[in-house]
């Protein structure tokens, strides 16, 4: 037995298998047993079977999510801000409400801002400008491909995408939501695409803006 082994043995006795002394081996086995019994999943299995199975399902869902990129909430795959891309330009959607910029820049406004700008972005992907033919939900092709490989997912995916007619009702809803959320009787919405480029110092510079949609409202509250 080397000197290194005799130093390591007391620290991780449960990995020690080359002992010739039965007493020492028994001690190591007891330590190993005690270590295993302290493991969270083992304690769950012994004391709370339901939680044990939930934990196993969660771990399975996490592994599945990482492998397939299909999440099962709450087994999230938190891969945000993991990209490696340097942008030279960007396009942003901005809203003019009665010729005034709808300014919800404060981070604390995030929930309201998401309801407006994230939905608008999704709408823009399906209907890129006013008068354009309604496209389909951007993930519809990927779902069709998924169903081709796994037809048993058909029922589950029945309501996974927006219907085409939903896009036609979106802009009036947006106006109504903005009117209520900022508590102003807004009559006209103008939605623009603001093009920005990044200069030599990497700082943003606004180039131009292009009108995408316009909407006028009847007096409804």
């Amino acid at each position: 037995m080397s000197v290194q082994d005799t130093i390591l043995v007391p620290q991780i006795p449960y990995f020690h298998t080359n002992s010739t002394s039965p007493g020492q081996l028994a001690k190591s086995m007891n330590s190993l047993r005690s270590y295993i019994q302290r493991l969270y999943l083992v304690r769950c299995y012994q004391e709370y079977k339901l939680l044990f199975f939930l934990a196993i399902i969660f771990i399975g869902a996490v592994l599945y999510g990482h492998k397939s990129s299909c999440e099962i909430t709450p087994a999230l795959v938190p891969g945000m801000y993991a990209g490696m891309e340097q942008r030279g330009t960007d396009d942003f959607l901005v809203i003019m409400a009665d010729s005034e910029l709808l300014d919800l820049h404060h981070t604390f406004d995030e929930p309201r801002r998401m309801m407006i700008y994230f939905t608008l972005s999704a709408f823009y992907q399906a209907v890129p400008f006013q008068g354009a033919a309604v496209g389909e939900d951007p993930k519809a092709p990927a779902i069709r491909e998924l169903l081709r490989k796994h037809p048993y997912m058909k029922l589950l995916s029945t309501h996974a995408v927006n219907a085409r007619e939903d896009y036609e009702r979106y802009l009036p809803w947006l106006l109504q939501y903005i009117r209520h959320s900022v508590n102003k009787d807004i009559q006209r919405l103008g939605i623009y695409q603001l093009h920005v480029h990044y200069d030599k110092q990497n700082l943003p510079v606004a180039d131009y803006r292009k009108k995408l949609y316009e909407l006028e409202s009847p007096h409804t509250n």
Binding site: L54, A55, L155, A160, D166, W173
Partner: protein, 277 residues
């Protein structure tokens, strides 16, 4: 100097959990994002998340979204159950169940109709379920499980950046994330002191990268929690620091997730005879 954190009993854990949930409710009310405030939304996002697919298959989202009265009733009940659970320290299991289901439905609904599966709401969607458990020992196991879940959120984000995509080692990322998240603010508010701050950081990419690196390594530090609870008193402060820095520089609001920070507080030891109803 002592860095000891308050020790929770089951009752104080319940009061803090449902108290925090109440503040989330108020925050959502002020930011116009409760179900009755959504004005019967149209478009939704299920992403590639089977939970959301299943949720929309049930028809519950449309029931809540399409009907103003039902939306109002839902929000009022959510508030009432949250306050009742707070007042009774989560001792009425039927109320805890209603509260937990209510927050789960709210989270799924908001994330669907805001077109963004926001991680910050996940805490209040999960934590109330811990108080459904009657026995103290089972409650402690459940609480510990949610602690691991919380650690996982940070640890996995670290693993993604460090080991899977290697974006942690991509030098421009520090300035890039600030630039792309703050560009609109910077062009719309050129005179703001924050624009000056962001410009300075972006034009000093080494500073930006060191900040980015520090934040991701802090996320990685949460891995320690999987092996020992002795560092929880330090780990407790990491999410607070992390979410404050991302709020300032990346323009994302994750404070609601801090409800799960409660699981990093020590639970008082079970006394003999306490392990019952």
């Amino acid at each position: 100097m002592s860095w000891s954190l308050p020790i929770l009993t089951r009752d104080t854990a319940a009061r803090w959990t449902f108290g925090f949930a109440f503040f989330i409710f108020v925050y959502r009310l002020l930011t116009h994002s409760l179900v009755h405030q959504m004005q019967q939304p149209i478009l939704y996002e299920t992403d590639f998340d089977y939970t959301y697919w299943l949720y929309h298959l049930t028809g519950i989202p449309r029931l809540l979204a399409d009907n103003k009265v039902i939306a109002w009733v839902f929000d009022i009940l959510l508030l009432c159950f949250t306050l009742y659970c707070w007042a009774t320290a989560g001792r009425r299991r039927w109320a805890v169940l209603c509260c937990a289901i209510g927050w789960t439905l709210y989270g799924l609904n908001y994330n669907s109709y805001s077109h963004h599966h926001n991680v910050s709401i996940i805490g209040v969607m999960v934590l109330p379920y811990a108080f459904l458990v009657r026995k103290e020992r089972k409650f402690r196991l459940m609480w510990e499980g949610i602690r691991y879940f919380y650690l996982y959120i940070f640890a996995d984000a670290f693993v993604h950046k460090a080991l899977l995509t290697h974006s942690l080692f991509y030098f421009p990322n520090g300035a890039e994330f600030i630039k792309t998240n703050q560009a609109l603010f910077m062009v719309q508010h050129p005179d703001s002191p924050f624009t000056g701050l962001y410009s300075w950081v972006i034009t000093h990419p080494m500073v930006a990268y060191l900040g980015f690196l520090t934040m991701i390594l802090l996320q990685g530090c949460m891995l320690i929690g999987f092996f020992t609870k002795r560092c929880d008193r330090w780990l407790f402060w990491i999410p607070i620091l992390f979410h404050t820095v991302t709020l300032l520089f990346i323009d994302v609001f994750f404070y609601e997730l801090l409800i799960l920070n409660l699981t990093l507080l020590p639970l008082s030891r079970v006394r003999a005879g306490d392990d019952g109803n």
